[in-house]
Symmetry: C2
Subunit: 136 residues, 2 copies
Amino acid sequence: MKKTILIFAALILALVLLFQLSTYAIISGNLEIEITIAIIAIVFFFIGIMLHKKSLLKQERPSSEIDSKKITDLEISNREYEVLQQIAIGLSNKEIAEKLFVSESTIKTHVSNLLIKLNAKRRTQAVQRAKDFQIL
Amino acid sequence: MKKTILIFAALILALVLLFQLSTYAIISGNLEIEITIAIIAIVFFFIGIMLHKKSLLKQERPSSEIDSKKITDLEISNREYEVLQQIAIGLSNKEIAEKLFVSESTIKTHVSNLLIKLNAKRRTQAVQRAKDFQIL
DNA sequence: AATGGACTCATACTAAAGTACCAATCCCTT
DNA sequence: AAGGGATTGGTACTTTAGTATGAGTCCATT
């Protein structure tokens, strides 16, 4: 909200400045009115583009951001989440075990707990549900 | 490219029209120059926003579009692709078999072929690779 | 008519995945 | 110090997944 106010203040300021400039230019005869109008048009054209770009950035981020709150809500521990990430890239339990320097038994335990917490029957379904929850 | 030319033509036309309007207004004394400038600024401000929005739509679509050419390149058949989609949503072979009204054996055959064609060792990896290829 | 691709299904395996239970540390909080 | 969650690991099993191989049907192209 603060940024919006600042942006609009800047816009009004720019408008006033351009107006002052154009008035002076027209009176002093240094600039033609067509050029003044053209400059104003171009300046606000690009202001429109830039503002829209910034507003979109704020909207796009959440859609691809992981929801860390949801992870804690589901009571998924750090280690379990690490395992979940490895499942998502298609690794087997043995491969995950080697990557995280633990035994395959440990990974199986983590996977079983993940399936319960994500209410999934299989690891493929767990990945799908995790993506629905925006935690992957 | 054609659209870009049309858009710029429309922009120039709008600029000329606004210029004509403002010249007439100022000469006839019906409008103050400040108001004219303000109108031009607002109009081009919104033109900027709208143009940027349209250009973004063209960019976003391809990133979430499935690459049907890639599917044929990988020699993945229609039925195999259907199975791939079901794997991606986390179904087991038996569940896929019931959904597509075929036996589990058939699904296993399709899955095996998919793994070869996608160069994957497991179904989870197949899903991951399919997404890399933009076919899911 | 013959060939080849797509789809189907089966059998018999081997290999992963997943379940159920138990248990030992470690670390943090009460 | 005691309790509890997190992490680790094991054994013993059941269930899915995946491989290998062969074979039949259907359909379009040659």
